[in-house]
């Protein structure tokens, strides 16, 4: 990416950072739900520790799962909300006649997703330390690979949702919140994939988060980072995020053909 392209990507991020800077309730809201989720699952985890031998063996497994699931959820929202913000504010027309390329807009949205996810999830992860004496960071380097993989999975969904919103209008905006939950039962967030019926397991293994959450449990059970699981997650993420990016760019092109960029907004 050239220097001028980076500057344009930075401009898109700056535009969204200005919004965050000017609205502390928005920043608070970003951190609020992950913290509430973590608190809820933290107490549930404490209960299970005394009633379940499986959870007792790996303290914090539910907390780790819920925090990492939020990475994927927030990764998705970070992309989709950045795009929808442009539609809500009727700014897509101005952006589309500026020198900003569609892939630079996309890169700016992904960059903002990284910022939003960090603002949203990091406080929950830190809060778990004093509340439940559990540090997600004790996983060490594998945590970084899990975090990145789940965020990229979230990006793929977020780009898909953005393409849907561009193609079908803001009537499709609820997809940003609901689509990802269709994947949750298959992701093996709180249970091993082997728990699923055998006919569902191949579907689960076609999704990157299944590999990540299996890998997370392996690390927390002291088995170390499983290279095969990591490779599976990385490989599938490359496929899905590339496909989502191509779909977004294709829909952007269709939008230019059909005049969908002309009258966007609430």
């Amino acid at each position: 990416m050239s220097g001028s392209a980076l500057r344009r990507v930075g401009a898109i991020m700056l535009r969204h950072l200005y919004i965050l800077r000017g609205s502390w309730p928005r920043v608070l809201e970003m951190a609020y739900w992950p913290a509430i989720n973590m608190t809820l699952w933290g107490f549930t985890s404490q209960f299970f520790v005394t009633h379940s031998s499986w959870v007792a063996q790996t303290g914090g497994i539910l907390i780790g799962a819920v925090v990492l699931w939020d990475v994927m959820f927030r990764g998705n929202l970070g992309v989709a909300l950045s795009f929808m913000e442009e539609m809500w504010s009727r700014n897509l027309g101005h952006l589309s006649v500026s020198p900003l390329r569609p892939h630079e807009l996309m890169a700016g949205m992904l960059g903002m997703s990284l910022v939003r996810t960090t603002i949203g999830v990091l406080p929950a992860a830190l809060l778990a330390i004093p509340m439940y004496h559990y540090s997600l960071f004790s996983m060490g380097l594998p945590l970084l690979t899990f975090w990145l993989n789940l965020m990229i999975s979230g990006w793929a969904i977020g780009l898909g949702v953005s393409a849907l919103v561009l193609r079908f209008g803001l009537g499709a905006e609820s997809m940003a919140w609901v689509l990802i939950f269709a994947l949750a039962p298959l992701a093996g967030i709180y249970y091993p994939i082997s728990t699923l019926p055998s006919w569902l397991q191949p579907l689960a293994w076609s999704l990157p988060p299944a590999y990540v959450f299996e890998g997370m449990r392996a690390v927390m059970q002291g088995k170390g980072l499983d290279g095969h699981l990591l490779a599976g997650a990385v490989g599938l993420n490359i496929v899905y995020v590339s496909a989502a990016a191509l779909i977004f760019l294709r829909v952007h092109h269709i939008a230019r053909k059909r005049g969908l960029l002309l009258n966007v907004g609430e």
Binding site: R15, S98, G259
Partner: protein, 249 residues
């Protein structure tokens, strides 16, 4: 067409089978101010959208500042800008923030100085740090013009630039564009319903109706051709099919 800032050849666009722009051809000379004039649904906004690359044509060619706009729009866009009262800037950002973001997008060097200069020229200083959504219609128009002027465009496309402005502000805006055009030698293409504005600002007028070009010429030529005293009467003649140009069959 070396001296044409815009050269359009047989440009067409349909929506759901209905032609919005139908095989139009026209040129805009470099350094001139040209108006696209026509009633609602004449195809002005569709034409401007295609000139900006916001909309892909079904057929025909568009050359802007010497480049094929369909194939190489990103070579052209840094040298072009656009303003319309119907396309607003993000409401939650302050005027300064909006101008900063767009300044970066257009690669404006010495951006802070440029914003300060525009704030002075366009009298934005009092509300530079106010949210754009909290401005009056006149203030919003001045901010939109500032955004359009950030990169000192060689080609400026304006969609009804003085719509919703009071006569005093509208006159000031027209004066600003005229001064910019004379100072920079930029080309201006505007779509407007305001005949007085077109008469004051424009060297050439392209009259559009139902997606086609029905006539073109300088305001004086059009007045003479239709035997009318002002462009408004010419516009009404064309809109209502009242008479053919003198000498036409």
């Amino acid at each position: 067409m070396i001296d044409a800032a815009i050269h359009v050849e047989k440009l067409s666009k349909s929506f759901a089978g209905q032609p919005a722009v139908d095989a139009i051809s026209f040129s805009v000379a470099t350094g001139s101010t040209t108006a696209l004039l026509g009633g609602n649904g004449a195809g002005k906004t569709t034409t401007i959208s295609m000139l900006l690359g916001l909309l892909l044509p079904d057929s025909g060619t568009i050359r802007v500042l010497g480049e094929d706009m369909v194939k190489h729009r990103y070579r052209v866009l840094p040298r072009v800008n656009f303003s319309s009262p119907y396309v607003e800037l993000p409401h939650r950002l302050s005027v300064r923030e909006n101008l900063t973001v767009y300044g970066h997008l257009y690669g404006v060097s010495k951006l802070k100085q440029r914003i300060a200069q525009l704030a002075e020229e366009l009298e934005l200083i009092d509300f530079l740090d106010r949210a754009s959504g909290r401005l009056s219609a006149g203030q919003k128009t001045r901010v939109a013009i500032a955004k359009a002027m950030l990169n000192q465009p060689e080609l400026l496309l304006l969609d009804e630039p003085t719509a919703s402005l009071d006569p005093d502000t509208a006159d000031w805006v027209r004066g600003y564009f005229r001064a910019y055009q004379q100072r920079s030698g930029a080309t201006i293409l505007l779509a407007s319903h305001n005949m007085a504005e077109v008469e004051r600002l424009c060297d050439q007028v392209v009259m559009m109706k139902q997606g086609g070009i029905v006539d073109a010429g300088s305001p004086a030529q059009l007045r003479e051709r239709y035997g009318r005293n002002d462009l408004e009467q010419v516009f009404l003649d064309i809109a209502r099919n009242r008479r053919l140009p003198h000498g036409a069959a």
